[in-house]
C-alpha cells in the first residue's frame, strides 16, 4: 500500500483505485483498552454499589473508551451511547417523542396511529427497557422494537432476555445545568416517566441496573447533588510503562522488537507535552495517531527516531500538534531532539 494516496497534481487523472480503509477503527478496539489500577478499582466500586461512574481527565485519557471496554469485557455489547449537546434536556437521555409527527398524524387522521408510534428510546431508556421482559413492557414499546432501536439493530433478539447494559453519557458538562439536575432521581433509581403516554413509568429491574459511565471534560462544575450520586474517578494521563503498554495494545506493529522506535517516540512525545505552549498538550489519542502514521510511513521499528529522515518526521508532526501556536515550537523541539 502506498502512502501517497492524493498527489495534488492538476495533471493527475482520476485513477479509480480503491482507497485503503482508515485505521481509526482499530484504535477503538475495546479489546486493547488498558485500565490503570485506580480506574479498575473505581469501576468495580461502581459495579458493586450500582452507582454511575463519573470519569474526568485530560482529553485523550481514555474516558470514552472505557465504556466500550467494559461492555466488551462484561459481554454487555453493544454499549448504548448518549452524546450530550449544549441543547440537551434530561428527557433526551431516555426517549424522544416525535411531537410534530404526532400532530401530523392527527391532521391526516391516521386512526391506526398509536401513541408509541412516535416514541423512540435513547440510551438510558433503552437500557432500562432491556432489563425487563418484552411481555412486561409491551405497551410501551415502539413498533419494530428492538430492531428499530439504534444501536441494537436487526440482529438483536426480539424476545431478549432481561440483561444489563452499559450506558455511556459522554461529555455531560456540555449540557445546560438543568440536565444533571433533572436526572437525580432517575440515575439513582433507574426509572423514567413518559408524560406523552399519560405519565407511564418504566422502571429497571432492581437486580439488573444499567451500568452507567458518565464522562466530563470538567469545563463546568457539576451540581453537588449529582456528584453525590456518582462514584468518581479522575483518570490521570498515563505515564511511562503504562503508556507503552497502551501503545503496544493498540498498534500491532509496535509489538516486540519495536523498542528503539517506541522508546524514542515516547521520549519525543514527553518533550512535546512538557513544552506545549497552548495549554492543551497532545494526549493519548494524538500519540496513537502519530505512531500509526509513522508505521504507515514504513519507518523501521528497529531504529530510533534519530536515525530517521528529519523531513519525514517533521511532516508527521501535524498529527501530534494541533494548535498553530505549537507548530513552530514543535519543529524547533524536533530539531533539538534530533541533534546528537
Amino acid at each position: 500500500m502506498s502512502w501517497s494516496i492524493y498527489q495534488g497534481d492538476p495533471a493527475q487523472r482520476p485513477s479509480g483505485k480503491p482507497l485503503p480503509a482508515p485505521v481509526g477503527k482499530g484504535l477503538d478496539n475495546p479489546a486493547g483498552y488498558v485500565a490503570d489500577d485506580g480506574l479498575r478499582e473505581a469501576v468495580n466500586v461502581a459495579l458493586h454499589l450500582g452507582r454511575p461512574l463519573l470519569l474526568t481527565g485530560p482529553p485523550g485519557s481514555g474516558k470514552t473508551q472505557l465504556a466500550a471496554s467494559l461492555a466488551w469485557e462484561l459481554g454487555c455489547e453493544p454499549q448504548l451511547k448518549f452524546e450530550t449537546k449544549s441543547t440537551s434536556v434530561a428527557r433526551d437521555l431516555f426517549y424522544t417523542y416525535d411531537t410534530v409527527g404526532r400532530f401530523h398524524a392527527a391532521q391526516t387522521r391516521k386512526i391506526e396511529a398509536r401513541e408509541t408510534d412516535f416514541l423512540s428510546f435513547n440510551a438510558l431508556g433503552l437500557a432500562i427497557a432491556l432489563t425487563r421482559r418484552r411481555s412486561e413492557i409491551e405497551g410501551l414499546l415502539p413498533p419494530g422494537f428492538p430492531a428499530s432501536a439504534e444501536p441494537l439493530g436487526r440482529g438483536f433478539d426480539i424476545n431478549w432476555s432481561p440483561r444489563r447494559s452499559v450506558v455511556l453519557i459522554d461529555e455531560i458538562d456540555k449540557a445546560p445545568r438543568d440536565f444533571p439536575n433533572d436526572l437525580l432521581n432517575e440515575i439513582e433509581r433507574y426509572y423514567f416517566r413518559i408524560p406523552e403516554l399519560g405519565n407511564r413509568t418504566l422502571r429497571a429491574d432492581p437486580s439488573l441496573p444499567p451500568i452507567v459511565i458518565i464522562t466530563s471534560n470538567s469545563e463546568k462544575n457539576l451540581p453537588a447533588p449529582f456528584l453525590r450520586r456518582c462514584v468518581f474517578y479522575d483518570i490521570p494521563f498515563p505515564q511511562g510503562p503504562r503508556l507503552e503498554e497502551i501503545v503496544r495494545q493498540r498498534i500491532a506493529e509496535l509489538g516486540d522488537g519495536a523498542e528503539p522506535l517506541l522508546s524514542s517516540a515516547l521520549e519525543l512525545f514527553a518533550l512535546v507535552r512538557r513544552d506545549s505552549a497552548a495549554g492543551q498538550p497532545p494526549g493519548t489519542a494524538e500519540l496513537l495517531d502519530w505512531l500509526t502514521v509513522l508505521t504507515r510511513r514504513r519507518i523501521p521499528t528497529d531504529r530510533s527516531l534519530r536515525q530517521v529522515d528529519p523531513k519525514l518526521l517533521e511532516s508527521t508532526l501535524s498529527t501530534l500538534l494541533k494548535n498553530p501556536a505549537d507548530g513552530e515550537r514543535g519543529r524547533q523541539l524536533l530539531k533539538s531532539y534530533l541533534q546528537p
Binding site: E41, T56, T87, T99, F103, L227, R228, F232, G279
Partner: protein, 890 residues
C-alpha cells in the same frame, strides 16, 4: 506498606468515622450515604475474601466513593495515609509532638523538636565569658585590697626602677604592675566580650530584632489550617443573590404542545406549530480582579459565586490582575484543571451563552490615554449579558462608569441593592442595552458609614509604603477612615491591625468575635465590603506606621478583647496543627497565662512566620508596641545582616588586638607621685598608668572597630570615579558613601584623627604637635573625599544637563530621566530630576505613573527625596486625570 495486622482489621470499621470526619473537615462532601456506601463496600470486600485489605487497595476502593473532584482525589491520599498511621502499631507507640515528622517508621520514645536538639553553643560560650570576666574582676579586686600603697622601699618599686636615686636618668617607660591600676585584666575581660556581643549584634538578631519591626511576606499559617467552627464562612445572603438564580427563558426548538394545540384550534384545525422558550437556569462566568493572594474584595467575590454554586448554578471563575484582557483559569476553569491563560476572545468562543460577571474597577477596562475601552475588549460584545460589579457605590460613579455603560458593560455596585437591581435587569431583559443609567436603587450607602475617603484614591500605593506620611496627613487619614467605617467598622479595622498580615479568615474571625452595642457580631456583608475596599485589604498588608496608630487608638478594654480573641485563634490554629493521635496537646488548657506550651509552639514556627512578628508579639504580651521599633533602612539592614561573617570576625579580632595593644601600651604613663616627700631622691614621676590612658584606649578600639567595618563592607568595592552606565546595577564606592555620607565619613574622620594622634604619640611628638598633625590628617581625609565626590557627581550633573536639553526638545527622554532618578545618582540630583520631570511632563502616561509609584516603595531614596516624589506623583496624577477628562493639564 505491609498488610494491616489482624487485630487492627477490626479497627478499620471502628475508626472509619475518624477518616470521614477528617475528610469532612477538609471540605469533602461526606454524608450518611457515603458512610453507608463505604460500609457496604467493606462488607463486600470481606465477602470476596479481601480481608483485611491491602492499605493501598483500601485507599483505591474508598477514594471513588468519597471524592467528587480531581483535587479531592489528589488530596485524598494524604488524608488516608495520616488516618492509616493512626491505626498502625508504630504510630500508636509514638509520643510527643513531631508534627513535622510523619514517618511511619518513627522510633519510639520522646521526639525531639525538629532542628532544636543538641547543646546551645552560644549559651555555653556566653556562660564561659561571664565566668572568666568574674574571675578576672575578682582577681583585680583581691589585688587591690591586698597590695600596699607604694613606698620607696617597696620591693616592687625597687625592682622596676633600678638605679633610682639622685643622678639617675629620666624614668624609662616600662611595664609596671601596680595595685590600683590593674587595668589590663579588666580591659582584657571587657574586650573579650566585644567578640560575642559584636557577633550577636550583627548575626544573632538581638538588636536588629529590637530595632526592626519584623516584616514578613509569608502567608499566615491560618490559611493552611482548617479552623472548623472557629470561623464561619461569610455566608453572603443577599436577596439579590437568590434572585440571580431565577430562570431565564431560552429559545426552545421543540414544540410547545399546549400552545400548538391552542393555535391549531384557533386556526380552525390548520396545524400551527408553536415553539417558544423554556425556562433554564442561567450559567455564570465570573472574571475577578485580584490584586494579591489576600485580596479581600476578590475573596468577597468568590464568596458570592460560591453562594450561587450552592444554589445549584453552574459557575466558572477566572482571575485577572490589572489587565482584564487575559484571565487565568482557576479551579474548574475552561479546559479543565490548571492555570492556562485564556484571552477574552477564546472565552467568548466557549462561554458566550453564559452571563458574564466582572468583579472589578471600571478603570481596569479603559485606556488611560484615550479614555476608551482598551483595545482587545471587543470580544466582550459577544456576551449577550455582561455586567460589571464594581466596589464603588453608584453615588461615586463618574465618567469611567458612564463610558463603560455606553454599550460595553452594565455597571452595578456590589451591594445588596446593586445585586437586586442586577437581578431585576436580568429578569426583564435579554439583550445588553445600548446604554444603561446607574440604577437608582443602588445609590444608597450600606454599612452605616460615610463615603470612601478620597485621599485613598489618590495614589493608593502611597498608603502601602512603610514610609509614614506626615503627622497631619495621618490624622486626616484616621479621621476619614472613622467616618467611612463608622464606629463599629473602625473597631473591626483596629482589631485587624494587630495581626501581622491581613488574611481573609482572620478578618472574618475578628469580625465575628467583635460585637456592637447590641451584642451582634460586627461581621456582616456590608461592613466587610467596606473594609475589603481599603487598599490594605486589597494587598493583604498594612504598613507598620498605620498599625501602630490604630493600635494606639484602642482603649484598654478593647485591647483586652482583641487579645483574648487572638489567643483563642492561636490556640485553635496550633491545636489543629497537632497530628491525630496526640490528644494530650488538644486537651491542654490554653491561655496566654499558660504560656509555656504556647511559647514552645511559637518557637517552632519558622523564622518568617507572622506569629513571630514584633508588633504582634508585643501586643499579645500586653505591652504597648514600642514606637521606636521601625524598619531600618535597607542599606543598614544590608550592612548589619548581609556581612560576610568571617570578615566580621576578623574585624572583631582586630578590635581585640587593638584593645590589647593600646591598653597595654598606654598602660604606662608618667604621673606625679602622690607623696613626693616620702620618695626622696626618686624621680618626681614614676611610670604609672594614668586615667586618660583608658578612655583613649577605648576610643581607639571603637575607631578601630568602625574602620574595620568600613573596610570590610566598603573597602572591597572598587573606587569608581565615573557614574555607572544606566544598565549597571552596581554603584561605585563614592556613590555608596555619598548616599549616607556622614554616618560613614564621621567614623572615618575620627579614626584618622585618632590614628594620627597615636602615631605621633609613638613617634615621640610633643603634645601640641600631636594635636595639629591629627587635625591636619582629618582635614586631608575630608578633602580627598570631597574631591572624589565632586568628580563623581560631576558626571551625574552633566548627565542631568544632557537630559534637560533633550527634554526641552521632546518628551522622548522621559524614560531616561526616570532611569536617572532610579539609578545611583546622589539624592540632590535626583530631586533636581524630579523637579525637571514635573516641569516638562504635561501629559503623563499610566506607565510613567506606575513607575513613579514603584519608586516610592524603593528604600534607596532619602526621606526628603521620597516626600518630593510623593508630591510630584500626586500632581502628575491630577494632570493625568484631567487629560482623561478631556481638559488641558495645568
Amino acid at each position: 506498606m505491609s498488610q494491616l495486622e489482624q487485630p487492627l482489621a477490626a479497627a478499620l470499621a471502628r475508626n472509619l468515622p475518624t477518616l470521614l470526619a477528617r475528610l469532612r473537615a477538609a471540605g469533602y462532601s461526606i454524608g450518611p450515604s457515603e458512610r453507608i456506601a463505604v460500609e457496604g463496600l467493606l462488607a463486600r470486600s470481606a465477602l470476596a475474601g479481601r480481608w483485611p485489605p491491602e492499605p493501598q487497595a483500601l485507599g483505591r476502593m474508598l477514594a471513588p466513593v468519597l471524592c467528587s473532584s480531581a483535587a479531592e482525589q489528589q488530596g485524598f491520599g494524604a488524608h488516608f495515609e495520616t488516618w492509616l498511621l493512626g491505626l498502625t502499631p508504630a504510630s500508636r507507640r509514638r509520643p510527643g509532638r513531631g508534627r513535622r515528622k510523619e514517618q511511619p517508621e518513627a522510633e519510639p520514645g520522646p521526639a525531639e523538636p525538629a532542628g532544636r536538639s543538641g547543646i546551645n553553643w552560644w549559651r555555653l560560650v556566653a556562660v564561659l565569658l561571664v565566668v572568666v570576666t568574674l574571675a578576672l574582676v575578682a582577681r583585680w579586686w583581691v589585688l587591690m585590697t591586698q597590695l600596699d600603697v607604694m613606698t620607696p622601699d617597696s620591693p616592687v618599686v625597687g625592682r622596676l626602677v633600678p638605679g633610682s636615686g639622685a643622678g639617675a636618668g629620666p624614668a624609662r617607660r616600662m611595664w609596671l604592675v601596680t595595685p590600683d591600676r590593674h587595668y589590663w585584666p579588666v580591659a582584657l575581660a571587657v574586650s573579650l566580650w566585644l567578640i560575642p556581643l559584636y557577633y550577636a549584634w550583627l548575626h544573632g538578631g538581638w538588636l536588629p530584632a529590637w530595632l526592626t519591626g519584623r516584616s514578613t511576606s509569608a502567608l499566615p499559617v491560618f490559611d493552611r489550617l482548617s479552623l472548623g467552627h472557629s470561623i464561619r464562612s461569610v455566608g453572603v445572603a443577599w436577596r439579590g443573590l437568590l434572585r440571580l438564580s431565577d430562570r431565564d427563558l431560552r429559545p426552545d426548538s421543540g414544540l410547545q404542545v399546549e400552545a400548538t394545540v391552542r393555535a391549531t384550534v384557533e386556526k380552525g384545525g390548520y396545524f400551527t406549530p408553536v415553539s417558544g422558550h423554556r425556562p433554564a437556569l442561567p450559567e455564570y462566568l465570573a472574571l475577578i480582579d485580584r490584586r494579591s493572594p489576600e485580596d479581600h474584595l476578590a475573596r468577597f467575590a468568590v464568596e458570592l459565586i460560591a453562594r450561587l454554586e450552592e444554589r445549584g448554578l453552574a459557575t466558572r471563575t477566572l482571575f485577572f490582575s490589572d489587565d482584564p484582557r487575559f484571565g487565568v483559569g482557576g479551579a474548574g476553569g475552561l479546559g479543565g484543571a490548571g492555570h492556562s491563560r485564556s484571552s477574552l476572545a477564546t472565552l467568548a468562543g466557549r462561554a458566550a451563552g453564559e452571563r458574564l460577571l466582572i468583579f472589578g474597577d471600571a478603570g481596569s477596562w479603559l485606556d488611560p490615554a484615550s479614555g476608551l475601552p482598551r483595545p482587545g475588549l471587543e470580544a466582550l460584545k459577544r456576551w449577550q449579558q455582561r455586567f460589571l460589579l464594581t466596589p464603588l457605590l453608584a453615588a461615586e460613579w463618574g465618567r469611567r462608569e458612564q463610558l463603560l455603560a455606553d454599550g460595553w458593560l452594565a455597571p452595578f455596585p456590589i451591594s445588596e441593592p446593586g445585586l437586586a437591581a442586577l437581578a431585576d435587569f436580568c429578569a426583564t431583559r435579554v439583550q445588553q442595552p445600548e446604554s444603561l443609567p446607574p440604577p437608582a436603587a443602588a445609590s444608597t450607602v450600606p454599612g452605616g458609614g460615610g463615603r470612601y475617603p478620597p485621599m485613598l484614591n489618590q495614589n493608593p500605593n502611597r498608603w502601602l509604603s512603610e514610609t509614614p506620611p506626615t503627622a497631619a496627613t495621618t490624622r486626616e487619614l484616621l479621621a476619614a477612615l472613622t467616618e467611612y467605617l463608622a464606629e463599629e467598622g473602625s473597631r473591626w479595622l483596629r482589631a485587624c491591625a494587630v495581626f501581622p498580615t491581613l488574611s481573609w479568615p482572620v478578618t472574618c474571625f475578628l469580625g465575628q468575635c467583635s460585637t456592637d452595642e447590641a451584642g451582634r457580631p460586627l461581621l456582616n456583608e456590608e461592613r466587610l465590603l467596606r473594609l475589603a475596599r481599603l487598599p490594605w485589604f486589597r494587598h493583604g498588608k498594612m504598613p507598620s506606621w498605620l498599625r501602630l496608630e490604630l493600635i494606639d487608638a484602642m482603649d484598654r478594654a478593647e485591647r483586652q478583647r482583641v487579645r483574648r480573641s487572638l489567643r483563642d485563634l492561636l490556640a485553635e490554629a496550633l491545636r489543629a496543627q497537632a497530628p491525630a493521635g496526640e490528644p494530650e496537646i488538644a486537651q491542654q488548657a490554653v491561655g496566654w497565662g499558660d504560656d509555656g506550651w504556647l511559647k514552645r509552639e511559637l518557637r517552632h514556627q519558622p523564622d518568617d512566620s507572622p506569629l513571630r512578628e514584633h508588633l504582634f508579639l508585643t501586643f499579645m504580651r500586653g505591652r504597648r508596641p514600642f514606637r521606636l521599633t521601625l524598619a531600618a533602612p535597607r542599606r543598614l539592614r544590608t550592612l548589619i545582616r548581609d556581612a560576610d561573617r568571617w570578615s566580621v570576625l576578623a574585624s572583631a579580632g582586630l578590635a581585640l588586638l587593638g584593645t590589647l595593644a593600646v591598653a597595654a601600651w598606654h598602660h604606662v604613663e608618667t604621673v606625679p607621685l602622690t607623696a613626693p616627700d616620702r620618695f626622696g631622691d626618686l624621680p618626681r614621676t614614676l611610670p604609672i598608668p594614668s586615667a586618660p590612658a583608658f578612655p583613649e584606649g577605648m576610643i581607639a578600639v571603637v575607631s578601630l572597630v568602625l574602620s574595620a567595618l568600613v573596610l570590610a563592607f566598603y573597602g572591597r568595592r572598587h573606587l569608581s570615579l565615573a557614574p555607572p552606565a544606566a544598565e549597571s546595577a552596581v554603584p561605585g564606592l563614592i556613590e555608596r558613601i555619598s548616599a549616607r555620607r556622614w554616618p560613614v565619613l564621621g567614623p572615618w574622620v575620627v579614626t584618622t584623627w585618632i590614628g594620627a594622634f597615636i602615631l605621633c604619640d609613638f613617634a615621640g611628638s610633643r603634645s601640641g604637635a600631636r594635636w595639629i598633625l591629627a587635625n591636619l590628617a582629618a582635614l586631608v581625609t575630608l578633602g580627598i573625599y570631597f574631591y572624589l565626590e565632586r568628580s563623581v557627581h560631576g558626571g551625574y550633573r552633566s548627565q542631568l544637563q544632557t537630559l534637560t536639553s533633550q527634554l526641552d526638545a521632546s518628551a522622548e527622554a522621559v524614560p531616561e530621566l526616570l532611569a536617572f532618578i532610579r539609578g545611583p545618582a546622589p539624592d540632590d540630583l535626583k530631586r533636581r530630576g524630579l523637579r525637571l520631570l514635573y516641569a516638562k511632563v504635561r501629559k503623563p502616561t499610566t506607565e510613567q505613573l506606575a513607575e513613579l509609584e514603584a519608586l516610592q516603595l524603593s528604600s534607596s531614596l532619602e526621606l526628603r527625596t521620597k516626600n518630593l516624589l510623593h508630591n510630584i506623583t500626586r500632581h502628575l496624577e491630577e494632570r493625568h486625570q484631567q487629560t482623561l477628562d478631556g481638559g488641558e493639564a495645568s
